[in-house]
Symmetry: C2
Subunit: 239 residues, 2 copies
Amino acid sequence: MSETYRYPHGDRLLVAIDCIIFGYDETGLKVLLVKRHIEPGKGQWALMGGLLNAQETLDEAARRILIILTGMHDVYLEELKVFSEVDRDPVERTISVTYFALINIHNYEHQISTDYEARWFSISHLPELLFDHAHMITYAKNKLKYKAALHPIGFELLPEKFTLTQLRNLYDSIFETELDKGNFRRMILASGLLIQLWEKDKSASKKGAYFYQLDEKKYKEKFNSFLNLTPNSKTISWQ
Amino acid sequence: MSETYRYPHGDRLLVAIDCIIFGYDETGLKVLLVKRHIEPGKGQWALMGGLLNAQETLDEAARRILIILTGMHDVYLEELKVFSEVDRDPVERTISVTYFALINIHNYEHQISTDYEARWFSISHLPELLFDHAHMITYAKNKLKYKAALHPIGFELLPEKFTLTQLRNLYDSIFETELDKGNFRRMILASGLLIQLWEKDKSASKKGAYFYQLDEKKYKEKFNSFLNLTPNSKTISWQ
DNA sequence: GCAAAAGTGTTCCGGATACACCCATGC
DNA sequence: GCATGGGTGTATCCGGAACACTTTTGC
C-alpha cells in the first residue's frame, strides 16, 4: 500500500543491486569481485553492483549488471535477500537487493569491459570487502548449499560436457564433504537428468571417463521438485 | 556499489513493504486483508503494507506494520520476494518487499486499530485484489508449502496446545492432501519436537485426544535442518 | 605388471507406506 | 452395543550408505 509519503528532506533512499557471482574450477568454488574505483570504499574489493533504473525491474537490473561485467547472457540468476541496515552505506541510505548468479567460469572472458578490474577469489580466501558484502557472500554460500541439496542447480557451474567425477568434485566443494563415488554415481544417474555421451575425457585417467550432458527437457521438468541430490542432507542447515 | 546517481527529476522511487499474513482455523488456511481507504485502488482489498521509513530496516518495517494491524509481537515473519514491475503501482514507481507472516489466528483480536478494516479470507476464495497482490499471495502460498515440507513452520499457525489431529488437518490444508493418520503421528513424534500434555481435548471425540505442545529447545535446534515433515515431498514443487 | 582412476556389485539397515487392527467413551 | 475418532501394530518395499570388487589403459 503506497500512502502519501515523503522521505525527510535530504534523506534520499537508493535501491541498489549486488550480484554474488559464483564460478567453479578444479581448485574449488570462486566468487567474482571487482575493485571499487569510487568513494566511499575506493580501492576495496566488492561485489559487482549498480543502482536500479527508473524503467527496469530488479531482475532486469541484475541481468544488466551481470552482462556489463561478464558479457554473459544465459546465466542462472536468483534473488537472494534485501540488505537494509540503515548505516550499511556510510554516505547515503541505500538498500541492496542481492542476487546470486552461477556461471560457467570457462565461458567467462576477462576484459569484457576495461571499466572494471575484476578477479576471481576462492570462496575460502576472500579479501576484505566493502560494506556488508562479506555477509552477503556468506548468506549466498549457505543458500547455494541449501538449494543445491534439493534442486539440480550445480550443473550451471560446469561446462556443457562434464564427467561424473568433475560433478562429484563440485558437489564436494559445495557441501564441504567427500561423497562416495559409487553412490553418487548411481544417485545422479537415477535422477535421469544426464545423457551419456560417447566421448571420453582422458585428461584425468588412463582409462578415461565418459562425458555427460544435461537432458534439458528432464532438467526443466524436474527443476522445481525436491530431488535429494546429496547424501546426509539431514546435516545441511539454513542461515 | 552505490555510484553517484540520481533518478530523473520527478521519478521518485518508493520502497514499500507488504505482508502476507496467514492464519488457520478448522475451516482451512486464511489470509488477512485490509480494505484500502486511499487512492489509487480505494475500496479494494489489499495486503497490509506501508512504506519504509528512513531510520528502520525492512525487517523492522515489516514488524511495525504487522503490529499496527494485529497488535501481535512474537510473530513468525520472513522475507519473501521483492516485486518491482515498473507499472505495478499506476501512480508512482514503487517496489514492494513482501514478507510472509504466520500467526495464531485465535490470538488475533479485531479492532486493534479502527484505522483499518481488516478481514480474514479463505485462501481458496479471495476477492479481487489491489495491484499485484494476488500474485504475491500465490507466491507466498507456494513458499509456505515448500518451507513447511522441510521445516517445522506449521506450528506457528496453531495455538500453544493442539492435538495431533489438528496438526494433521493443518498439514492437509497446506499440502492439499490427506495424510495417513498413523504415519503422520509416528513421523511427527519421531521428530522429537513435541511434548505430550496430560490434558485431553474432548471436543472432537468421546475418547478425547491428548494435547501436545512444542518443545521450544528442540524446535530451535532443529529449525534450520531438513526435516522430512511430509510424505510425498517428492511431489511438492516450487514457484 | 602396476598404479590410478573409472565404474560395478552386494549387503545391510532404517524409514516411508499402506492398511488392518485395538481402545475408550458417550449415547 | 455401536458409532466415532484416537491410537497402535506390522508386513512390505525402497533407497541410502558402506565398502569391496572389477575394468581399462598408459607407462
